[in-house]
Symmetry: none
Subunit: 209 residues, 4 copies
C-alpha cells in the first residue's frame, strides 16, 4: 500500500492549500491566479492539478476549512458554567482574537468568502453552515440562561444569537478596513449590553466580574 505516498500526498495537499490561502488573502479569489498559487507553493502546475481538479475546487476546500475553524472558535467557549459568563467569555475571546494581528489578518479570507457566497451557491452553502453552527450554539446557551432566569425570557434566543454573530462579523469588517479601530471600548459596550440584558434590573449592573 502507498503508505508513505498517502502521507506525502496529504502533505502536498496541505501545502497547496496553505499557499492558496496566502494568495487568496493577499489578492482575493479572483485576482489571485493559479500561477500565484503554484509559485507560492513552490510546485509545478501539473503537480497542483493532480491534487485539485480546478481552481474552484481549491476555493471550495478553503471555504470548507474556514468554516470548520470558525465552528471550533465558538465551540471553544462553550463552557458549562454560568451561561451569561459563557456568552461573555465567548465575546471576549472573540475580541481578544481580533486584537491580535494574526487574528484579524486571518479573517481577510473569510470576508472574501462572505461576498463570494452571494455569487456562488457552493460557497453560500459553506458560509451558511459556518453561521448556523455558531448561531445554534449561542442560542442554546441563551436558552439555558433563560431557563436559569439569567436572561429575559421574552427574547428570541436565536435572534439574540444572530445579533451577536452579526456584531462579530460587522466588527471584523471594521477592524479590517481600519486596524486602528480600538477593541477595548468596544468590548466594554458589549459587556454593558450583556450586563443590562442579564440584570433583572434591580441588582447593580456594574456588579459583574
Amino acid at each position: 500500500m502507498p503508505r508513505i505516498g498517502a502521507e506525502r500526498r496529504a502533505g502536498r495537499h496541505a501545502e497547496i492549500l496553505a499557499a492558496a490561502e496566502a494568495c487568496f488573502a493577499r489578492l482575493g479569489f479572483h485576482r489571485a491566479t493559479m500561477r500565484d498559487v503554484i509559485d507560492e507553493a513552490g510546485l509545478s502546475a501539473g503537480c497542483v492539478y493532480t491534487h485539485f481538479r480546478s481552481k474552484r475546487e481549491i476555493v471550495d476546500a478553503i471555504a470548507t476549512d474556514r468554516h470548520v475553524r470558525e465552528e471550533q472558535a465558538i465551540a471553544a467557549g462553550d463552557a458549562t458554567g454560568d451561561p451569561v459568563d459563557a456568552l461573555r467569555a465567548i465575546a471576549q475571546g472573540f475580541f481578544a482574537d481580533l486584537s491580535t494581528r494574526r487574528g484579524i489578518e486571518g479573517r481577510r479570507l473569510a470576508v472574501q468568502t462572505w461576498s463570494e457566497a452571494l455569487l456562488d451557491p457552493d460557497v453560500l452553502r459553506l458560509v451558511r453552515a459556518g453561521v448556523e453552527k455558531p448561531v445554534g450554539a449561542l442560542a442554546e446557551i441563551v436558552r439555558r440562561a433563560q431557563k436559569e432566569g439569567r436572561l429575559a425570557p421574552a427574547l428570541d434566543p436565536e435572534a439574540l444569537a444572530r445579533a451577536m454573530v452579526a456584531l462579530f462579523h460587522g466588527f471584523v469588517l471594521q477592524k479590517l478596513w481600519d486596524p486602528r479601530v480600538p477593541t477595548a471600548p468596544y468590548t466594554v459596550v458589549l459587556d454593558a449590553i450583556l450586563d443590562s440584558l442579564a440584570t433583572p434590573c434591580g441588582a447593580a449592573p456594574g456588579s459583574r466580574r
Copy 2:
C-alpha cells in the same frame, strides 16, 4: 445648444451606471464582463467607453455612489427629538428597509464593495468614508443622549456607534445569505438593548412606547 447634449450625456451616464450596477450585483465585480455591462445597457462598447475610461472607473463610480446613498440613509434618521428615540428610529428604519426585497437586494453590491475594499485602496477609501460618516452621526446622538442623562455616561459614544453599525452590516450579510432570516425578532433584540441601556434600571424596561 449643448443643453440637450449635456442632458443626454448625463442620461447615458446614468443608464450605464444602472446597467453596471445590475451586472455587478448579479455577477460580482470580477465575473461581470464589460460585455455583460454593455449588453445590459443596450449600447456598444465604444459608447460605454466614451463615458467611462475603464471598467475600473465604473466600479469606482458605483462605489462612490453607494457610499453617498448610505450617508443619506443614516442622515435621514437624524431627528432632533429625544436622542434615544432617534437611535431607535434609525435602527428601525434600517431594519424596515432590509425587510424589503428592494432594500436587501440593493445591498448585494455593497457587500461586494466591502470585500473589495480589502484588496483595492481606492475602494477602501470609499468604504471607510461610508462608515465614518454614519458612525460620526450616531456617536453625536449618543453623546447628546448622555448629556441629557438618557444613556450611561461611561459608554464610549463612538464605540456604541460602531457597534450599531457593525450590527447593521452583520445583519445585511445574514439576510443576504439567507433571506428567510426573520427581521422582527431581531428588531426586538435591538430594542431591548437600547431599552436596557437607556433605562437607569429602576423604571420598568418594558414601559417604552
Copy 3:
C-alpha cells in the same frame, strides 16, 4: 455657384492637411489617430470626413504634397551657370536647409513616408516619383558637366545623381536620429568629393585599379 463655399472648402482642406501633418510628424502615421487629427484641426469628426473619405486618403494627400515640395527643392537649385557649381549649390542648399530646425523637423514626415512606401503600393508610387524627379534633374546637370568636360565622362550620370540623393537621404536620417551631428564638416566632405571628381587630376579619372 458656391464661390465662397469653394474657397472655404479649400481652406478647410488645407487646415486638415496641416493638422494631420503635425500629428503624423509627431506620432507617426499609425500611432496618430483620427481623433488626434480632428482635435488638432479643431473640427468635428463628421466635418473632417466630408473632406477626406478616410485616414488613408489623408495619408496619400500628404505624401503627394511632400513629393511636390521635394521636387521644388531640387528644381530651385537648377541654375544654368557652371554645372559643377550648380551641383555644389544644390548640395549646399540642401545641407543649409537641414541645418535649420524647421528644415530638419520638416523631414520627419518624409522618413515616415519612406518606410511606409515599403508597405503601401500607393505611397511607394509617390515616393518613387519623388525620387525619380530629382535624380533626373541631377543626372541632367551631370550630363551637361561631362559634355563641358568638367566631370569624368566615364561616370554614369544617373548613378552619380542617385549617389547624391542617397547621401541626402542618409544624412536626413542621421540628423533626425541625432540633431547634434554637425553639418559643416559634412559639407566639406561633399565639396571635396565634387572637387576631386571635377578635377581631371592629370591622370585619367577612370584609370583606377
Copy 4:
C-alpha cells in the same frame, strides 16, 4: 535535466523571432498583429507570450538583433592592410550584399526601424548605437589612412565615415523602393570618389576653394 529544456526554449525563442521578423518585414511593425506573428510561428498566443512579455518586447528584440548584425557586417571588413583598400572592400562588400535578393530584402525591417526610431526612444537608442559603431570603425580606418598619407588630412574622419554610412543607408532605400536600380554603376561612382580622394593628385588635395 534542464539542458534539453533550455535548448528547446532557445529554439522557440528564435522561431518566434524569425516569424515576427517575417511578419514585420512584410506588414510593418504596426500592421502586423500578434495574431499574424502567432500564426506564422505556428504556435499559440499563450506560448508566444511565455517567451516575450509583449509585442513591444519582440520589436525591441528584433531591433537589437538587427543592430548587432549591422555591426558585424562592418566589422567584417575591418582588415589591417591598406586602409583605402579596406574602405573600398567594405563598400564593395556592402553593395555586393545589397545586390543579393536576401541582402536587400533583409533590410526591409531595418528601414522600419529607422522611421520607428523617430517615434520611439528605445528604438532610437538601438538605431543610434547601430550607427555609431560602424561610423566609429570607419572613422578609425580613415584616420589611419590619413596618418599613412593616403587620404587628405584636412578631411574630418568622422564626417567622411558618416558620409559613407549615409550613402549606404540612402542606397538601401533606393534599392528597396525599386529593386531594378542597378548596383554596378553605383559601385563605380563610389570607387571613383575613394580614388580621387585618395590620389594626392599632384596638387595638394586640400587646395580647393
